[in-house]
Symmetry: C2
Subunit: 176 residues, 2 copies
């Protein structure tokens, strides 16, 4: 392999990075989606383990965190800012009223559909620009704190909670 | 911003992208490390939830999967290939003898130390080459299936099981 790097090779490299990060994001969201749709309301309301977060709380938490991506990525206003208080700021069993499971499923779909629209429209170069949770000064020193990095981190956040949500399902395989 | 992309900008983009993926990998491994070291042997032997995988099984599973990275990434031979049968091929409670917790902690350290050595030595361009679980023909069509992508996917795998392993600890925060 030549050590010189042509512009074309690098444009491809950028496109490839974006695909790597977005593929993982899509994969884990789809796994959550498939799991949630396979669970009964009774299973979703249950605790993932004794004394731990309920399925509905973790589902609401994932929706709220994904909804929070709109302002962070410069994609506009959140759809459901009211979810933060219930599912992020406060713990499960806070006494705050939660939306119903059907409402949450609707929110999940709408947040993901709108996010996907924005994600597909974002020009490649924009992924490597600053997101709105990092200052210009910090970004100058830490250019990896860009928009695509948020997607990588949020994918790990989703997979973390997916590992817990699978405990709501009947045990099937060793990976559950 | 100019739409033309200079070679220098792209070399930086590559370096930045590698940093993004490796930072997330390090973060999640460090979180596992911290958790494992905070747990008693009794906690580690327990099930993460009723009827689900034990802590020791999931810990062994993470070690085996990380150890499997050596051949996949062209980093040489595995250190502990015998772990696969116990922690990957077979489920928990298979009746196969497991290493002790202290042995596993030692393996975890050694696998991570050797992996880190190889990771730090790999030239930037090599991260975007084919890994050994994908054929040359498939890689030609799917260039995102490169070595760095393995790191991104394995980080998500680690965070998935970390979400389960935290159930071994005493409940402290809503994120547990």
């Amino acid at each position: 392999m030549s050590t010189s790097t042509t512009t074309n090779e690098n444009i491809t490299a950028k496109t490839v990075f974006i695909k790597m990060a977005l593929s993982a994001w899509d994969t884990y969201n789809e796994r959550v989606n498939k799991l949630i749709n396979s669970l009964s309301d009774e299973q979703l309301i249950a605790e993932t383990a004794p004394g731990r977060n309920s399925g509905i709380y973790l589902f609401g938490h994932l929706i709220a965190v994904s909804d929070g991506l709109f302002p962070i990525l410069g994609f506009g206003e959140r759809l459901y800012p009211e979810l933060d208080k219930i599912f992020v700021v406060n713990p499960d069993r806070s006494g705050l009223a939660m939306p119903s499971i059907n409402e949450l499923k609707e929110y999940w779909k709408k947040v993901n559909a709108k996010l996907t629209d924005h994600i597909l429209q974002l020009p490649d170069d924009e992924w490597f620009t600053r997101h709105n949770n990092v200052s210009e000064a910090d970004f100058a020193n830490e250019p990896h704190r860009n928009k695509l990095n948020i997607i990588i981190n949020r994918t790990n956040h989703t997979s973390y909670h997916l590992g817990q949500l699978v405990y709501l399902a009947k045990k099937q395989t060793k990976e559950d």
